[in-house]
Structure formats: structure tokens, C-alpha cells
């Protein structure tokens, strides 16, 4: 790759902030910069937040790796791992780095390898992401064997290794990280004491009352806590034997871990003449006083604040990426509000805002339940939440955090915020979810990705979000959530006209399309593209059109096989390894010994890897090669069970009056009649049916697309729009009738209405919900539109047109219909010239 026309970006620091800002930049414009990174630690990049999990053994080091070395390679990033940047020479516009000895102590100014060669990297732009180092209070004897800091992966490994030979440990520092370290040490079987100089734990997050309660909770876990104790000296000659305090008292211990907060690493900035106070001083674009040098992360002092949490740092990284790539040269970062959660096993704690911020006239809501260790507090000013602490029970932490972050007005009933609403209704909706929360469970799409598609990718409609991220393109049940996200992040969801088209490639709604197809008498998919889509083929629209045309012209539809999905070309269901599954038709789920024998023989003859019963009371032969399909069908001698297509699938049944002592109606007889009549009827999506001989519903008829349930008084109830898949819904009662024939009549009527009015791939439950059961009863039972006679005639015609697709075993539509990959010899004509 040529580098001449790329700007050179040097990132100093390879921690979470440095790597994140690079990711954000690559996401916006992967071509713009030639990127070089300096990292003093000899690793790729890892998630420091998970360090305490490494210490307590619940995660392995490898699991904390965010960007392995291969990531740098594949993104063409030069990583100087184990090289410390020493100086920015702003006159020569180069960054000077020095290789560090592998055994060099972290954070030190020395430690560079004297044999190492100085590295110089020229730059156009720099991002300083040097992070922070642990603050070590003045403590004599620090550095002798058995004393540790708690900050890096190396620290974690060393602490864990050393703890094996220890009986007791002291953690200096009762803040967030100190407590996490203490809990981690406990898992190594040592007796742990936490020493805090202040009179309470976690002073940055807790008020004195909650801190006292937390102390009790932690002591119950077996961790000792000493408050208002200043340590002065680590005791012991060759290794640690104890610790001495300012008041003269001592405590025996085998090791000392210091976790007393962080201080920004600013030497290189100072050395290079950048403005530094407590941290590197940055403006609202994270620019230092040199316009070509930016800073991000824990080394930054922004509006007087230094942030040590990831959320603010992610926001900073986004701002820099927007500015540097020119996506939004005026992007600004205006500071962050802070919310934390304590990640200590056995302690639930969430805190947001400054616990010392309260004014005398603020509204303070407190709930205490000391016996369970529960404490909940909110401070509200001008209807806005300015501080909250949840200890012992954090169910509503998500909502509170969002209210706090977004500065929304809190609801009238304050109690809802601490305990949830009595009805279980959400207080806030998608707001509650963090960026990594999965919205689309079918395609594994997280909220953050959808948010980016809306805000960066400029997707303004549910379908655009789907094209961009695949969210909502599986079962579709997350679409309402995507809609909410659009309303939140784009102001409103735009109506995408293509959402109303029957298929995206033909700009007509279903009724318009049907009218046009009938008016022009279009009988093939290619004719529809030619006449109604300006001659432009759209492959994604083909199966939908094929399904519609077949239902509109049951007898003279011009079948173009390329318009079908592969399942419908070979009448079997394609599996993840490219083989197919074969499900023979078993009417009503009732088979015979002879049929079972034939199926067993086929399974043996073709070495079928799996024979399985389906949820629809059928037998599934899985793992059959495409070219074996015709002979498998011939050997079976049973018609297709249509288990691969958008059509009537199955009607299962319970044993009904034949054997069951509770049976009220002949459910088996009915199921077989239903299946004989409607087999192969195509529809917008699959239809799964069942009949139940009594309301005990053994065959699950209440949750089927169509179901019939026998009730007392020799009657049948007909249900429509039930579901028990990715959505679960009890069907709606369409009507109650007296005979099998009437059940068949109303079921057929509903099927035809659904075939005509359902959107392609809309399941019956979506269709019934969209139209409403009252309207469907009016149309299909009361005949308010006078179409029932026509519907009955149309479904009758479709039934009459049924032909078993497996007959194509004898008469394939094309010689290569069932061809597996054709082997060809790899030897060809060697030629150096090009044919003409």
C-alpha cells in the first residue's frame, strides 16, 4: 500500500483508549491515515475492566484481549509493542521512542533497554493516550518482594502467583478497585484486610450510611475492613511480614497490594511542551494546546475533570474520530456524567452522580432495609436526578442511569424508580439498555450497532436499519424496538415506501400488484419485472412474486424455477452442510407399520445420518444428498410433506375419541381430512395446523396458525393466528361450528383470505393481529363484504390444482435439477494468449 498520500497518525499508548480511538477512526475512514502505535506493555490491547476477573480466576487472560496482534496487522497498523514513546519533537515533527526491557517496572521513567535502538516516527497528527498510573501513597518499604500495585495484566499474574504462598494480604485503598482486588484475593484463599485512610469506603460513590452498610456486607463475605487508618511502612526484611500505621499500630500480613487511585501519565506531554495541570489540558475537541496533537482517556483533563471510567473515554474517542476523519469537523465533547457499578461477586451496588452534591432544599428519597443489606437513595433537584445509590438490590439501576444521563424528568411516583412499576410496565423503554445489549436475537445485533447505523450510517427507517445491520430481518419481533431507537436517535422513524411494497423490487402494494397482474394478465415472474418494474430484475423479490402468481393463477401460472428458493426447486429443506432433509407426508400424524418399514429401509439404504421426529408429528430424514432426492422419494412411495416451503405444512392431532377417555370429538379423522384437502396450498408463510379432541389441547391446537378444538356439545371451535415459535400467541376464536365439513369450510376461507391479503413472509399471527379478529369474523363468518362464495371457490380451485411435487422424481423439470457439484478434470489448455 502506498503511504505517500496518507496522513501519518501516531498514537502514543496502546491501552483501551488508544485502541478504541483507532477503531473509531478506521470505522469512519479506513484509508485516511497510516497509523503507528506505541505501547509500553508487550501485548496487544486488553480490557482492563476485566482485570479483577483475571485475579479472581473467573476469566482467563486470553479472554480479556480486545485486539490481538493480528488485528493490528490486518488493519495495517504498525505497533511498537514494548516500546515507550519518550518525546514528541514538535520542531522535527517526529515521536521518539525507546524499547523497554521486558523486566522494567511499569510506569517508571527509566527501564528502557540501553542496548535498544531509539525509534523515530514522523507524524502529521498525534493522539496521546498514555493513560494513568496507580497512585502510591508515601509508604516506606514499597517495592520489596510481596508489595504490588493492581493495574496491569502483569500485576494480576504476579499477585495471583504470590498469593499462593501467603496466608494473609492487605489491600491499601478502599475504593472501587481496591474492593475488587480484595474480593479477587479472597478466591485465592488468603485472609484479606482492606485499609482505607478515609472514615468510609468508596467515598467517591457512596454517602456515609450506604458505605457503612457496604462495610457490613463485605465483612460478612470474610473481608476485614479498617477505616481511618493511614499506612506508613511495609515491615519485613527480605519479604513482607506486616504493615505499620501512622498511629503506631501494626498488622501482620504476607503481602501488600496498593490500589489507591490513579494519576494521569503526563511526562511525555510535559517534556514536549504541552499544557499539563493534573492531566493533559484539552479543549472540547480533545485537542491539546498544539492543534495537531490530541489526547484521549485517563491522561486527559477536560474542563477540570479527569475521567477514569470507560464511557466518558468512549465518547472522547468518538469525538476525536469525528474531528480527525472530517466526518464532523465541529464535533465536541462536553463532559460526561458518571455512573458506576461495583463488580464484586456477592455485592450489588450502583451509584451515579456525586454523593456529596446535595443541597439542603433538594428532594431526598431514601429506603432502608438494613437486615437484608438494602439501601436505596435518590437526590432530585428540579425534577432531575442528580445522585442515586442502590445497594443490595439494583433492579432499577438501568432506568435510573438513563434518567440520570439523559437528564429526563423523573416520574411522579418516585417509588417506581426504586422498585419498578407495580404493573411491570417499563419506566423507560430501550433507553434502559446498554450499547452491548442484543436487540435482534436472530442476527445477534447489539443496540450500539443499530445506534451507529442510525447516527453515522444515516438510516432513517426500520428497513434501512435492516439492510445496514440485518437487525429485524430474522423473525422481526425486534422491529418495535428498532422503531423506538429511531425515534430516540433520529427524532422520528421515516416511513420507507418500500416497506409497503409487497416485494422491494416492484413499487406496488399487494392490492395494487394483484390488480396490475390481473389487468395485464402477467403469468410469470419475468413478465412482472418486464411490465411493472421497468425491466429490472430483483433477485430478492423473485420468491415473493412466484408465490403470489401461483396463488393468483392456480392452473396457468408460468412456472420459472429460477424464481424459487432452492428448497422449492428440489422440494426439500437445505441444511447447514448443503445436504437436504426429507419429510414424507403423514396425514394427521397417523402412520402404519408398513409405512414405517419403508421409511426405515430408505434410511438404511441411503445411510441417512439422522432420523428424527419433528414438532409436527412427522419423521424427518436428515442429511440426504441433492442427487439422491429423486430415488429417495421413489423408494419411499409417500407424497411430499412440504416441510420446506411457505405452504400448508402439517396438521397434527391428539388421539381424540378413538382411544382417549377424555376425547369429545374425532380429532384424528378431522386432521386427516384437513391434511388431504389442504396439502401443498401455498401461502405468504408456512401454516402449521392441529386438531384437539378436547380443550386439554394435547396437540397444541390453540397455538397453531389454524387450530380446531372439540368442545362439549359436539361442537368444534376454529382458532386462527396462534403461534408457538419465536412469537408465542394463543389463536383467536373465529367461530364455533358443528361438523368436520364446517371446520374445513372456515379454515379454507381463512387460508384464501390470508393468501390474498397477507404480506409475503407474514405469519398468520401477524396477519390476524394486523387486521383484528373482529374484522376477520365480519368478513369470513358474517360475510359483510360478500366475498365468501368467491373465497370458497378460489380455495377449491387451488385444492384441485394440487400435484405432488415429488412426482418430479420421475419427470424432472430439467436434466440437472438435482445435480450435485459436477467433477471436472483440472487439466486444461495452457495458454498465454487471450482468445478473441
Amino acid at each position: 500500500m502506498s503511504t505517500a498520500d496518507h496522513e501519518r497518525l501516531v498514537v502514543i499508548g496502546n491501552g483501551m483508549a488508544g485502541a478504541r480511538v483507532v477503531e473509531e477512526i478506521l470505522q469512519r475512514d479506513a484509508e485516511r491515515f497510516t497509523i503507528t502505535m506505541f505501547g509500553a506493555e508487550p501485548y496487544g490491547n486488553y480490557n482492563r475492566i476485566l482485570l479483577s476477573n483475571v485475579l479472581n480466576g473467573s476469566q482467563k487472560i486470553e479472554e480479556t484481549v480486545l485486539n490481538p496482534l493480528a488485528w493490528y496487522e490486518s488493519n495495517h497498523i504498525t505497533l511498537h509493542a514494548g516500546v515507550k514513546a519518550m518525546l514528541i519533537d514538535r520542531e522535527r515533527r517526529v515521536v521518539v521512542g525507546n524499547a523497554r526491557r521486558r523486566d522494567a517496572p511499569p510506569y517508571g521513567l527509566d527501564g528502557h533497554d540501553p542496548r535498544g535502538v531509539a525509534i523515530e516516527e514522523p507524524y502529521d497528527k498525534i493522539i496521546v493516550a498514555t493513560g494513568s498510573r496507580p497512585f502510591v501513597p508515601p509508604l516506606e518499604g514499597m517495592g520489596k518482594p510481596g508489595t504490588f500495585l493492581f493495574r496491569t495484566l502483569d500485576d494480576c499474574e504476579q499477585i495471583a502467583a504470590y498469593a499462593k504462598g501467603c496466608r494473609s494480604a492487605v489491600v491499601v485503598g478502599g475504593g472501587l478497585l481496591g474492593l475488587e482486588a480484595a474480593r479477587g484475593l479472597l478466591t485465592h484463599g488468603v485472609e484479606v484486610t482492606v485499609i482505607e485512610a478515609l472514615p468510609q469506603l468508596m467515598a467517591a460513590q457512596l454517602d456515609p450510611e450506604s458505605a457503612a452498610l457496604l462495610k457490613t456486607t463485605i465483612e460478612r463475605m470474610g473481608i476485614h475492613v479498617l477505616l481511618a487508618k493511614s499506612s506508613s511502612q511495609v515491615l519485613g526484611e527480605e519479604r513482607v511480614t506486616g504493615i505499620q500505621f501512622n498511629d503506631g499500630t501494626t498488622l501482620d500480613t504476607d503481602m501488600v497490594v496498593v490500589s489507591a487511585g490513579i494519576r494521569p501519565i503526563t511526562e511525555i506531554a510535559k517534556e514536549s511542551g504541552l499544557a499539563v495541570e493534573r492531566g493533559i489540558v484539552c479543549d472540547d475537541q480533545l485537542r491539546t494546546n498544539d492543534p495537531d496533537i490530541f489526547a484521549v482517556g485517563e491522561c486527559v483533563q477536560h474542563r477540570g475533570v479527569i475521567y477514569g471510567l470507560v464511557d466518558p473515554i468512549w465518547q472522547q474517542a468518538k469525538t476525536i474520530a469525528d474531528v480527525l476523519t472530517g466526518i464532523n469537523p465541529r464535533a465536541t465533547y462536553l463532559g460526561s456524567k458518571l455512573a458506576t457499578k461495583l463488580k464484586v461477586m456477592g455485592v450489588e451496588l450502583a451509584s451515579m452522580g456525586d454523593p456529596k452534591a446535595a443541597h439542603p432544599d433538594d428532594e431526598v428519597v431514601v429506603y432502608r432495609e438494613p437486615s437484608r443489606g438494602v439501601y436505596k437513595k435518590m437526590v432530585i433537584r428540579d425534577k432531575q436526578l442528580i445522585n442515586a445509590i442502590l445497594l443490595g438490590e439494583t433492579d432499577t439501576a438501568g432506568v435510573l442511569t438513563q434518567m440520570f444521563m439523559l437528564e429526563t424528568a423523573v416520574p411522579q411516583r418516585r417509588a417506581d424508580l426504586l422498585f419498578g412499576t407495580s404493573t411491570g410496565a417499563p419506566i423507560l423503554s430501550v433507553f434502559d439498555l446498554p450499547d452491548q445489549a442484543q436487540i435482534c436475537n436472530c442476527n445477534g445485533v447489539a443496540k450500539g450497532k443499530i445506534k451507529d447505523a442510525i447516527m453515522i450510517g444515516k438510516c432513517k427507517s426500520v428497513s434501512k436499519v435492516g439492510v445496514h445491520t440485518k437487525a429485524g430481518t430474522g423473525c422481526g419481533s425486534c422491529k418495535p424496538l428498532i422503531l423506538q431507537l429511531l425515534e430516540v436517535y433520529a427524532g422520528e422513524a421515516q416511513d420507507d415506501p418500500t416497506e409497503h411494497y409487497y416485494v422491494p423490487g416492484v413499487p406496488l402494494t399487494k392490492p395494487e400488484l394483484i390488480a396490475a397482474v390481473k389487468a395485464k394478465s402477467l403469468k410469470s415472474v419475468s413478465a412482472v419485472f418486464r411490465e411493472l418494474a421497468g425491466g429490472k430484475e430483483d433477485p430478492g423479490s423473485k420468491p415473493g412474486l412466484a408465490s403470489l402468481l401461483k396463488s393468483l393463477w392456480p392452473h396457468d401460472y408460468e412456472d420459472e424455477r429460477d424464481a424459487r428458493f432452492i428448497n422449492d426447486r428440489v422440494h426439500a429443506n437445505i441444511q447447514r452442510d448443503g445436504t437436504f432433509s426429507v419429510v414424507p407426508r403423514i396425514y394427521g400424524g397417523v402412520t402404519s407399520a408398513a409405512e414405517l418399514k419403508r421409511i426405515a429401509e430408505v434410511a438404511e439404504k441411503y445411510n441417512v445420518p439422522m432420523v428424527k421426529f419433528t414438532g409436527g408429528q412427522r419423521i424427518d430424514l436428515l442429511g440426504i444428498k441433492k442427487e439422491d432426492l429423486p430415488s429417495v422419494w421413489k423408494d419411499l412411495g409417500i407424497p411430499s410433506g412440504h416441510a420446506y416451503t411457505k405452504a400448508f405444512r402439517t396438521c397434527k392431532s391428539c388421539v381424540g375419541t378413538d382411544f382417549c377417555r377424555y376425547g369429545l370429538g374425532d380429532s384424528i379423522g378431522l386432521a386427516r381430512k384437513i391434511e388431504r384437502r389442504f396439502q401443498g396450498i401455498e401461502s405468504p408463510h408456512k401454516m402449521k395446523l392441529a386438531t384437539a379432541g378436547c380443550p386439554r389441547n394435547c396437540s397444541e391446537a390453540y397455538v397453531k396458525d389454524l387450530g380446531a378444538v372439540a368442545i362439549e356439545g359436539e361442537q368444534w371451535e376454529v382458532y386462527i393466528g396462534g403461534a408457538a415459535g419465536s412469537s408465542v400467541r394463543k389463536g383467536d376464536l373465529l367461530c364455533t361450528v358443528n361438523t368436520h365439513d364446517e371446520v374445513l369450510k372456515y379454515m379454507g376461507r381463512f387460508m384464501q383470505y390470508y393468501r390474498e391479503n397477507g404480506k409475503y413472509l407474514e405469519r398468520s399471527y401477524g396477519f390476524v393481529e394486523r387486521l383484528g379478529i373482529e374484522r376477520l369474523r365480519d368478513v369470513l363468518v358474517e360475510d359483510t363484504e360478500g366475498i365468501c362464495t368467491r373465497l370458497d371457490a378460489e380455495i377449491e380451485a387451488a385444492v384441485a390444482a394440487y400435484k405432488d411435487p415429488w412426482l418430479e422424481a420421475v419427470q424432472p423439470v430439467h436434466a440437472s435439477q438435482f445435480a450435485d457439484p459436477v467433477p471436472v478434470a483440472a487439466t486444461g489448455n495452457q495458454s498465454h494468449e487471450v482468445r478473441s
Binding site: V467, H468, K470, T473, S526, K536, E537, D538, P539, G540, K542, P543, E560, R561, D562, A563, F565, I566, R569, I574, R576, D577, G578, H814, A815, S816, Q817, A819, D820, P821, V822, P823, V824, A825, A826, T827, G828, N829, Q830, S831, H832, V834, R835, S836
Partner: protein
């Protein structure tokens, strides 16, 4: 790249110079592939999917989708694209590119010669 693209257009090649050795492989009659569909071939160890669009244009790509190895020849074809039957990843047949997922299929020059399909392997 540009040579491949030129060769693919309309199944004809232009009078271009090129030096790397090529093997022309005959895959059999073009009628083997129904109009608008694809079929898979195994050339030695190399899986190749050949597509015959409704307008007669031919395309050839690697046979498996890079996502979960879906058989692309079983996909739905049209407007110079194929949709994988497994998870509906959509590829441009001329360039092999799947824009949404940022991956690219290997493509092969392919043309029709006396009613037979010929592809060129390097």
C-alpha cells in the same frame, strides 16, 4: 482485475496482452444450467459456481459463501447478483463483492464457446 472484468462482459474477450499462464477448462454444455440458475462444479480441488442469468450472461465465482459455506450455486440470481441460500448474503457476480459484509468472492473469467462453458484458471 480489469482484464477479468473485460472478459466477463457478455462472455467475450478483448484483444489484451497478458502474460501469466492460464488454463482454459471446459465445463460442459451451457444448457446444463437452466436459465436464471447456477450450478456447481469441482475443478480438481477448486469449487466453482457458474451462473447463467436470464439474459444469457455467464458468471463464475468460488462455490461456497465465505460466511457459513452456503452453496452459492443454489442461490437466487438476477441483475448481476446472487443471494446465498443460507443467510441471504448478496454478492455482485462481476466483482465478487458483498458490500454489506465487506467480503469478496473469488471470481473467474468465463465464456461460452460453441455451446460449451469455458472458465479460465490461473
Amino acid at each position: 482485475m480489469s482484464l477479468h472484468t473485460l472478459q466477463r462482459r457478455g462472455g467475450q474477450t478483448m484483444g489484451l496482452q497478458q502474460s501469466s499462464p492460464k488454463r482454459s477448462i471446459h465445463l460442459g454444455p451451457v444448457d446444463f444450467i437452466p436459465l436464471g440458475e447456477g450450478r456447481a462444479y469441482k475443478v480438481g480441488e477448486i469449487g466453482v459456481a457458474v451462473f447463467r442469468q436470464r439474459d444469457g450472461q455467464l458468471f463464475a465465482t468460488q462455490s461456497q459463501c465465505p460466511h457459513r459455506q452456503g452453496p452459492l450455486a443454489d442461490g437466487i440470481v438476477g441483475a448481476g447478483t446472487v443471494i446465498c441460500p443460507f443467510h441471504a448474503w448478496k454478492f455482485d457476480l462481476a466483482t465478487g463483492r458483498c458490500a454489506a459484509e465487506g467480503v469478496t468472492l473469488r471470481t473467474f473469467p468465463v465464456y461460452e464457446l460453441d455451446g460449451r462453458i469455458v472458465i479460465e484458471l490461473e
